[in-house]
């Protein structure tokens, strides 16, 4: 359809609705009453509202309510979580309405947030999943994203590493990093810590590491509910930045009644969940002896076999004595260091939290404080987080209410250096020789160069102690808002929110480290702060007309602005051993270069509307539209219009299906929507920029980039078909979704001819398709007085295909000093791995063979993934088992090439043409190698002189499908007959990461050393921080 025409049409309709409905109001009347459950116990916190109107209140602790209504007669709707809705008619001022509500397991009446508007679940027409506090409150979580892990169809949560405090990777329908909106405040999703990157020893950044996600600072226990907007029509109300889906997070608020306190605490121990066995020093010596023997066999068979190898090393004449020489005497030293045991340890984890919620009819509050302390399983690593939150709501009068929320978080992450890449501590420990002692006899760290493989950069225990990277983060998120009933049925909501981050990265290298030995110690200090503010105004008009028609129209305006600031310093020359690590002690200080796209304020201005219409509560229609303007684009291409629509048909409200006891609800849904994305665009990418550059002590300006004034919004489109089914009033309920999404006009770096002066610039080009099916089912197979069994299962299939690219077959590398590990190729999935195909080991010679051509070897994203969780409650006991699975995903196990060297001495030859005998330790897996003619093996023969492995091959691309028992939680509930001292107490035991079933050889199949945030180069393992198995004991006390 003509975009412009559609755009104007929608705005016109929205405007008309809002303007023409300014009707007069009737004089108010008062209704009083009481709400109880079946047994007569008062229900606190139940919602009472006038059907089709905006008048509403909540019941107090004794179940009573008072409601001022503006129509003489009507219907009151009573709702409460866990109870079936009840409707009671009223006429005139009625002061004594008593309502008994029936418990239900159906969730159709749950009210969920769908973007500026709350809707009943049964009215929803988009693909939206919802998670309630009760779904995860019994299991302690250290990260918010864990609450949705394996619980929602179409949503994949992976743990790319065990780094404490690192973000989990959340992907909705194949798109990474959704937009999180916490109480209406969109969170910045990028990581701002420079310590997430990986460095080489000369300080060059080689790749990305683990992100600290934008929601890591939020205490999971403060969350009341989360809604995941999966399809484009649902998410499009958040237009800009909603392209990867939206997660709406609502924090807990106060409630009527006496103040409830809750105290939650757990403590536990963590240990590495999967350990890789490595050779002992005796076994390593045996391997090397076999390697020498194998090479000698080759030599005796053909004395010129080594000539070409030697020539390349500048050595002439091969002396076979190097293969018969005894190993150096140090090889009999008896030292047998288990390096993984040296750098990994069992570590504690603790969380303490206290919260209070309460209030009265006028004012309600929620407040909480939390302290989380995790010691990493890698030595010296730790993460501490302290936070508090206050949410307050006040009803000023019958028409005006105001509220505020404030949360503050402090985080201190003493990271493990380069925790996800080479030169990191775990990486170095993996290849370190067992013959190397940790310390010399004088107590100093032993010199790694004498023992280790040459690719290693330092004694790992020394690195852990003498390299000190610390990220300190302060975050303040606050908002104030008001709700005003302007006219009958017309409400105004206005809010102002801020999100302030102040982050400092310190990284200190003592002079004894190999990174800083030449300069007498060095330190980096990076400062980053950002303030985002957002101002939103919405008007909502809600009416019922002509009996069966219900209409809601919302119009809104929002402005958002972020002002980031970041700069960094490097200092060299520190007083060694004095503990003076701060950069202020450095002899020389240099400023680090600032990328011109940084520190630029970014603004978004948006107009939006939603129109919800239902007829007879069975034909549902929703139309969204949003007009976004972004400062990231040239003025002429700045505005994007993003429409969405969805329709639903509630078949069970039709006569032919009504009153069925089996099929209690059946809904068909269809939606289409378009979303804008600008996440891959840098500020001022639309124009050519000059940036400061110095020469000969003078400052000048040099060109930085080639601008492309034509760039505009990336446009993601999605069609969704859904069916919601509920059987036996919620005993079984489920949804099936089928979708097809296209990311079009991708904002991407397009290669340029170098004669332009640049290698690439930003363009809109390409098209990536995601197609998939999702199924989610929950059921209560058993539900009686003493025993309840709840089970929920979800499974999703997603297929990602590149339809077109600006230029085909773009090679990419997860680390920019490595060979291309991935490819973008039309017809393949984003994140396809690239290399030679390993064709196996020749049984006779023990030599590997590889394909002649490079080819696609697999992809990082799974074909099928999901989760299955079961919750059992027997009397006072409860047991929850959560599992997760993933099939079809591969991992490029880059680090494995370094620890399956088969005895290769990578030290080359010394001045006397003798082999430098330095070896990498090997995983015990090396014992399965080819040893003699006829052996069938996947690993080549051992060799001192040759490296038979080919890192860029499918030898190291492995099947990383897995099934995991993520958590088992067993609890016992004490329920006092009379809640005098406390109202409830739960004690529990939990095990996290109990079991992983996988063929993957490595610490964990979910690994993505570069965080996986860049899907093009996801799924590489460079010895990412291992995941921990956690045993914990906890207490949850309410009083």
């Amino acid at each position: 359809m003509n975009q412009k025409l559609l755009r104007w049409l929608v705005w016109l309709c929205a405007g008309l609705f809002l303007c023409t409905n300014a009707q007069g109001q009737n004089s108010p009347i008062m209704i009083k009453g009481k709400v109880t459950d079946k047994t007569g116990t008062p229900l606190a916190g139940a919602t009472v509202l006038v059907k089709g109107k905006t008048d509403a209140t909540q019941t107090t602790a004794d179940g009573t309510f008072q409601l001022t209504v503006h129509s003489a007669a009507g219907t009151l709707v009573f709702s409460n979580v866990g109870f079936a809705n009840k409707e009671v008619a009223y006429s005139g001022g009625n002061t004594n309405i008593t309502v008994q509500m029936d418990e239900t397991i159906s969730v159709l009446n749950d009210v969920i947030l769908t973007g500026y508007i709350k809707q009943k679940k049964s009215d929803i027409t988009g693909a939206i999943s919802s998670i309630r506090n009760k779904d995860f409150k019994d299991q302690p979580l250290s990260n918010l994203a864990q609450s949705i892990e394996g619980k929602v169809a179409g949503l994949q949560v992976t743990t790319p590493s065990g780094t404490p405090g690192a973000g989990l990777l959340v992907s909705i329908r194949g798109s990474n990093n959704p937009l999180y909106v916490v109480d209406g405040i969109p969170m910045l999703s990028e990581s701002n810590s420079s310590l997430a990157t990986s460095y080489t020893t000369d300080g060059t950044v080689t790749g990305q590491g683990q992100n600290i996600s934008s929601i890591s600072d939020i205490n999971p226990d403060d969350i009341e509910s989360m809604e995941i907007l999966k399809d484009a029509s649902a998410a499009s109300i958040y237009g800009a930045r909603a392209a990867n889906g939206v997660v709406l997070i609502t924090t807990k608020r106060g409630k009527n009644g006496k103040t409830d306190f809750s105290f939650d605490s757990y403590t536990g121990i963590q240990q590495v969940s999967r350990k890789m066995p490595f050779l002992s020093s005796t076994q390593l010596v045996n391997l090397e002896q076999d390697a020498q023997k194998q090479d000698l066999d080759l030599y005796n068979n053909n004395p010129s076999v080594f000539d070409s190898l030697l020539n390349a090393n500048g050595v002439t004449g091969f002396d076979p004595s190097m293969l018969t020489n005894p190993l150096p005497s140090s090889w009999q030293s008896g030292v047998n260091t288990n390096w993984l045991n040296q750098v990994l340890h069992t570590a504690p984890i603790t969380n303490i939290e206290l919260s209070a919620r309460g209030g009265n009819d006028k004012t309600r509050f929620f407040m909480s404080g939390d302290y989380f302390d995790q010691t990493g399983i890698v030595i010296q690593n730790s993460y501490k987080r302290g936070s508090f939150r206050v949410n307050v709501d006040n009803k000023v009068n019958s028409r005006v209410s105001i509220g505020a929320g404030l949360s503050f978080t402090y985080g201190k992450n003493r990271r493990s250096f380069n925790d996800d890449a080479y030169t990191g501590i775990v990486t170095n420990a993996i290849g370190a020789s067992p013959l190397m002692p940790v310390y010399n006899s004088d107590g100093s760290y032993s010199d790694y160069t004498q023992y280790q493989a040459l690719w290693l950069s330092d004694n790992p225990v020394k690195s852990a102690h003498a390299i000190i990277p610390i990220t300190t983060n302060y975050r303040l998120i606050g908002n104030v808002f008001t709700d005003i009933d302007l006219l009958k049925n017309l409400k105004y909501h206005g809010s102002f929110s801020t999100d302030y981050t102040n982050l400092t990265d310190d990284q200190y290298f003592d002079a004894i480290t190999s990174d800083a030995s030449g300069v007498g110690g060095k330190a980096f200090k990076n400062f980053y702060n950002n303030i985002t503010w957002i101002q939103e105004n919405t008007l909502t008009y809600q009416t019922n007309f002509a009996k069966n028609n219900s209409l809601t129209v919302l119009g809104g305006f929002s402005m958002q602005n972020s002002t980031p600031q970041g700069y960094g310093l490097m200092g060299t020359g520190f007083p060694s051993g004095a503990g003076l690590n701060d950069i202020s002690n450095a002899v020389s200080i240099f400023k680090m270069p600032v990328d011109p796209s940084k520190n630029v304020p970014v603004g978004i201005v948006s107009y939006f509307t939603r129109i919800l219409y239902s007829f007879k509560e069975r034909y549902l229609l929703s139309v969204n539209a949003r007009e976004d303007g972004s400062s990231l684009f040239a003025p002429s291409n700045r505005w994007g219009f993003f429409p969405g629509m969805s329709a639903g048909w509630l078949l069970t409200k039709e006569k032919f299906l009504d009153h069925s006891d089996v099929l209690t609800s059946l809904k068909l849904r269809f939606s289409y929507g378009e979303l804008g994305d600008l996440s891959n665009n840098a500020p001022f990418g639309y124009r050519t920029n000059y940036t400061p550059a110095s020469y000969n002590g003078q400052v000048g300006l040099r060109p930085y980039n080639l601008g492309n004034p034509d760039i505009t919004w990336q446009r993601n489109k999605m069609v969704n078909l859904g069916v919601d089914v509920e059987l036996w009033k919620g005993k079984i309920s489920g949804s099936i979704e089928v979708y097809k999404g296209n990311q079009t006009k991708l904002l991407t770096q397009a290669p340029l001819p170098s004669t332009s002066g640049y290698a690439a610039y930003t363009v809109n080009a390409g098209n990536v398709e995601n197609k998939g099916i999702e199924l989610g089912i929950s059921a209560y197979p058993v539900r009686n007085k003493n025993f309840t069994w709840t089970t929920s299962f979800n499974i999703s299939y997603n297929k990602n295909t590149i339809q077109s690219l600006y230029s085909d077959e773009q090679l990419l590398s997860a680390y920019n000093d490595l060979f291309p590990t991935h490819i973008l190729k039309v017809g393949e999935s984003v994140g396809s791995m690239w290399g030679y195909k390993f064709l196996g080991i020749n049984k006779q010679t023990g030599l590997p063979s590889f394909s002649d051509n490079l080819q696609v070897l697999g992809k990082a994203a799974p074909d099928v993934f999901g989760g299955w969780s079961n919750d059992f409650r027997y009397k006072n006991w409860d047991l929850n088992i959560a599992t997760q699975f993933s099939f079809g995903n591969k991992v490029y196990n880059l680090i494995q090439a370094e620890y399956l060297t088969g005895g290769w001495a990578d030290g080359g030859f010394d001045g006397n043409n003798q082999l430098v005998q330095v070896f990498a330790n090997n995983a015990s897996l090396v014992d399965t190698r080819w040893k003699k003619a006829g052996d069938a093996s996947n690993l080549p023969r051992a060799s001192v002189l040759f490296n038979y492995y080919q890192q860029q091959s499918s030898q190291f691309v492995q099947n990383a499908s897995f099934f995991k028992i993520k958590t088992i939680n067993l609890g016992y509930n004490f329920k006092p007959k009379k809640p005098v001292v406390y109202s409830s107490l739960r004690l529990y035991l939990q095990v996290q990461n109990l079991l992983t079933v996988t063929k993957y050889y490595g610490f964990d199949p979910e690994v993505s050393s570069n965080g996986g945030g860049a899907p093009q180069t996801a799924g590489v393992d460079y010895a990412a921080y291992p995941q921990a198995r956690v045993f914990m004991f906890g207490v949850a006390l309410n009083f």
Binding site: S517, P596, V600, A693, Y695, G700, S754, T755, V916
Partner: protein
Amino acid sequence: MKKHLLFTIITLCTVATACNKILNPASPNAVAPGDIFTSTAGLLEARTGMYATLETKAYYGGIFPLLAECYTDNGTCGGYNTVDLNDITYRAVQTTNLYVDGMYTAMYNSIYTANTILENADKVPNADPTLVDNIKGEAYFVRALAEFDLLRMYGQHWDNSSAFGISLDTSNTNPTVPIARSTVAASYAQIISDLNQAASKINTYNGNMYASASAAKALLARVYLYQGDNDHAAAMATEVINDNNFGLYNANTFTSLYTQKNTSESVFELVFSPQNQSYYNILTFVRTNATISDVFFVASANLDTLFINRPGDMRSKLVDYSDVDNDISIQPNGRSQKYRGETAKDNSAYAIRLAEVYLIRAEALGRTGGGLADLNTLRENRGLADLTDADVPDNSTYLTAILDERRAELNFEGHRLFDLARTHNVENVLGSGVQPIMPIPNREITVANGVVAQNPGY
């Protein structure tokens, strides 16, 4: 009602202003090109920025000169799993090589920058015409320098009749349109024309960290020598040698060339500072106990042999082959000592030095034309005895002597590969099948979609 209206208007105005403001932020660290060539100060800043483009890591910041060394018998480079650097050492470069690609773009970035100055300098209001001329001359020089470096690295510079010259980029009008390669002859013509412009337009000598008329002439001498035009090469070299700004260091002092800046031996150098470091020290030294697995550029055993056969040559001090470490060493390789200074890391890049100008003239004049005297002038200043006619009885031995002298003098300064290529010695010295130039990067070939031809052999 009036009050409401007023309130509404004020609100709308405030909102509109705020919207406008947040949608049009100012960058704290970048400016649009239109804001630069508006004053003399801006023009001077663009000039400073132009020199900065030559200093990127991929170009004179380190990679370009060192790659021209480590591809040859002078050096070797690499590191553990750094495939693209190892390929340089193996002289088996892929068209996707990161270093080859980065260098190519960096050179054109300097050309692009010089072009912006050439296109805009005349538009600067109220600028002193002498200054404008001088800066335009410098821009011509920078463009010629990059063009010639491209031709040496990626074009068949030894063959005037070859079609494989470079893509000549003399305008920034349509930057995204690929440019077909010119012939080698046309490439030389453009370079010589630009250098002549530079030599005539630059009217002030601002020190050897800036392009000067003499620098242009020195570069012209080199260009003519590569092209085989010995008469012009010698003439240009003579003009530089006669320039009082420059003089050779002697056998006792010449090692200080590598610890000092802006010496009189330097005709044009790119200066660095601790705040604006070059990569030479990092790339050739890394750290005291470095192993061959570190990413770095080391002197080869073959260069050691050269000096072993040149007793008395003081330049042997600038390469260290001693075994400084215990068990793990980089032997039989050694380390160039030209880029020490681990703390400051501000080693200059010598784009052209007087010693080279003497060598150019020695080669251009030939054995019997007075070249031997130039060769001996340099030898005397490096602690060596003069060569006599008997030492170099014919042109072939004379050329070998010149090449050896160039190797001894200019190793690790970015000359060896080009010297071998222009004298048709690549296969003799580096082995059969070794390509004398780098491939045009794969990206360029793909994007140009047939417009830019790949070099033969790739």
